[in-house]
Amino acid sequence: MMNKTALFIPCSVNLLLPWIGEAVDRVLKRLDVVSVYPDRQTCCGQMVYNKGFFNEARSFATHFLDVFESFDAVVCPSGSCTAMVKHRYPSLFDDDPKMKQRALDMAGRVFEFSQYLVDVLGVTDTGASFSGKVAYHDSCHLSRDLGVSLQPRTLIRAAQGTELVVLNNGDQCCGFGGEFSVSYPDISTAMVSAKAQSYLDSGADLLVVGEPGCLLNIGTYLEKNHPGKQVLHIAEFLDCQGGENGR
């Protein structure tokens, strides 16, 4: 039967930030969306792909298509995993027209979480409430790869009691970049400290991001250097009701 929405949960969320997945579940439930979690899902393969192992990435892509192909929509709380499936998978099969077609068919049906809410469901107000100033960091893959930048802002603005404030250089990379963060720690931490500075300068009470990688990077940086300054995933934010963050 093809009428269901499937959740694709990134490895980082599954292993390190499971509460983001739970927040996604709760928000979707609040909006009466029935979602399934296909049990056979593994990983999008971004890590090996970004290292340059294209052949190996093909196994990930093939498995992903096998697992998710039968769903109407696949929703993922990560811009980079979504972009991997949407934009990278088709390019992996330049020599295999049949697989390429399968990848292209999938590409039109995979959505990042906020994109799914706004563009597919037509939701703007999720019923979230958070009193305070919120700044939004445009993660690279969300904003430039998927063109998703208005959607999360729309959702944040609609939250009760929330004022969305400007984050200077908001679309500049936070310096995570997967392996980059540990291969070039000096450059990476200089980048994340610039991001944290913009957050501090913005006067916001909370920073919201749509990418688990950015969340880990910015979050652990803030924890060490500016304890008390909070960063939440957009799903966690939308899960907030009356200022609680659902953790």
């Binding site: 983001i20 979690y37 290292k51 340059g52 990435a57 196994s59």
Partner: protein, 467 residues
């Protein structure tokens, strides 16, 4: 010019710790990017203008061979001499022999990254021919013996007191000053004298117009115009991708180049010249030599995946927006080209084996691709270079993968299609990672300025299955 691409990490650390570089990088680069954006809005339809520019560059590169031949024919018809240089050595020898044949006492140069690529100054120096850089920025770094920091502003990061010091030491300035006007005047006094007696001037080329055989240069100082119009011999060096089909396209690309480079609609000087001085004309060189340089570009052209890099017009827009460049500046790139375009050109021209950090140190954020008026997809090409490096590509001089890398990727690919194995391995892997301890290099790299994330007791998968 020396290749220092291998000291990327140490140079980067040095630059990040340098207060002078920091001030410049933190304040000036965002301003340059903002000015560019404002400049672009002066097009009636900026998006269409970008699309047209990308189409022009794509078709120019697609038709490269044919256009270059047309250019040569028309340039020769107009009286220019065209020399095809297979590599840097051939180009340098051609210029050196020209200098020696005509007993040229010294040469002057307009700003050109291509002659940095050639290492021409070193060759002429060995020939005991003094070279005077006449672009203010190039002049400053020549005196300081520093590499270019940025393709558009080679000395843009040098503080004025350092310029004052080196001008007093080497350019005849009498008293110290940090006033830009005074410094400019000092450079002008020194260089005017060189122009007055110049016999051979060297320039780069921003665009070579096939239809007319003309060469076009943009600049803000007028020194290129001097080098192109003063009597004697003019040598203009172009890498072969500088070709555009016709004047119409050249003008559109000029509008694009200026806006993307400096935010100007047009630079203060734009020179478009066809052939040397003709009878009855007042200025222009007596002899015009155009060197068309390959230096590895045919090889780049032959691979359909790397060919796109030849679309670049060297506007510098990608450099100004690059978040890595904004931290480390231009020196770590270790060769003629810096920023995202340097991450592609340096490895492609020098080989993957000695430029690993260039295509390695990238978060694939796509800021470069988004602004590029020439339609280059830098991140995709960076991934391609990583792939070729792992595959030990003989043409691009890839290093190959390590045993550990192969093991990791093969194991991961094996497990990716077997959910049970995948989940067990992922849990085990993250558990082991959480026990690595603070001294493990991966942990210490992460915790340099961050805390180590703790491992939650249950995965999302477990929670979902057994809430």
């Amino acid at each position: 010019m020396d290749v220092k691409t291998q000291s990327y990490v140490t140079e980067a650390k040095k630059e990040m710790a340098s207060p002078a570089s920091r001030t410049f990088l933190d304040f000036f680069l965002p301003v340059l990017s903002a000015v560019r954006e404002i400049g672009m809005t002066s097009f009636p339809d900026p998006a269409a203008a970008v699309e047209r520019a990308r189409a022009i560059r794509r078709s120019s590169v697609d038709r490269l061979g044919e256009l270059l031949e047309t250019f040569e024919r028309n340039a020769v018809k107009a009286g220019a001499r065209v020399f095809w240089a297979e590599n840097a050595h051939e180009a340098n020898i051609y210029i050196r022999d020209l200098v020696n044949r005509h007993r040229i006492p010294y040469v002057t140069k307009g700003k050109s990254m291509i002659t940095e690529e050639l290492g021409l100054n070193e060759v002429l120096k060995k020939n005991q021919t003094p070279v005077y850089e006449t672009d203010l920025g190039e002049f400053i770094i020549q005196l300081l013996e520093k590499p270019p920091f940025h393709i558009i502003g080679p000395a843009i990061n040098i503080p004025t007191d350092e310029i004052s010091r080196v001008f007093m030491e080497k350019a005849g300035m009498d008293s110290a000053s940090t006033d830009p006007v005074v410094l400019g005047q000092a450079a002008r006094n020194f260089l005017r004298d060189k122009f007055r007696h110049m016999r051979l001037g060297i320039t780069g080329v921003n665009m070579a117009v096939a239809e007319t055989g003309s060469i076009l240069n943009v600049e803000n100082e007028g020194n290129i115009r001097f080098n192109k119009s003063a009597p004697g011999i003019q040598v203009s060096v172009m890498s072969l991708e500088k070709i555009v089909p016709n004047l119409d396209d050249a003008l559109h690309m000029t509008r694009m180049l200026c806006r993307n480079g400096t935010g100007q609609k047009l630079t203060s000087y734009v020179t478009l010249d066809t052939g040397p001085r003709k009878q009855g004309e007042k200025d222009g060189p007596e002899e015009l030599h155009i060197i068309i340089l390959d230096n590895g570009r045919s090889r780049i052209y032959d691979d359909i995946k790397t060919r796109e890099v030849l679309q670049c017009i060297r506007c510098g827009a990608c450099i100004n927006v690059c978040p890595v460049f904004r931290q480390i500046g231009g020196y770590p790139y270790g060769w003629a080209y810096t920023g995202p375009i340097g991450k592609l050109l340096n490895p492609l021209l020098l080989g993957l084996d000695r430029t690993r950090d260039l295509y390695g140190a990238c978060t694939l954020c796509k800021a470069c691709k988004t602004v590029c008026p020439a339609g280059i997809d830098h991140p995709s090409m960076i991934l391609y270079l990583r792939n070729k490096n792992l595959a030990a590509d003989p043409v691009l001089q890839g290093e190959g993968s390590t045993f550990a890398e192969r093991l990791m990727s093969k194991t991961a690919a094996f497990a990716a299609t077997r959910p049970r194995t995948w989940n067990t391995a992922a849990r085990l892997g993250s558990f082991l990672a959480s026990k690595l301890g603070p001294c493990h290099p991966l942990v210490s790299a992460w915790t340099l300025k961050r805390t180590f994330p703790s491992l939650p007791p249950k995965t999302y998968r477990d929670l979902r299955k057994h809430p």
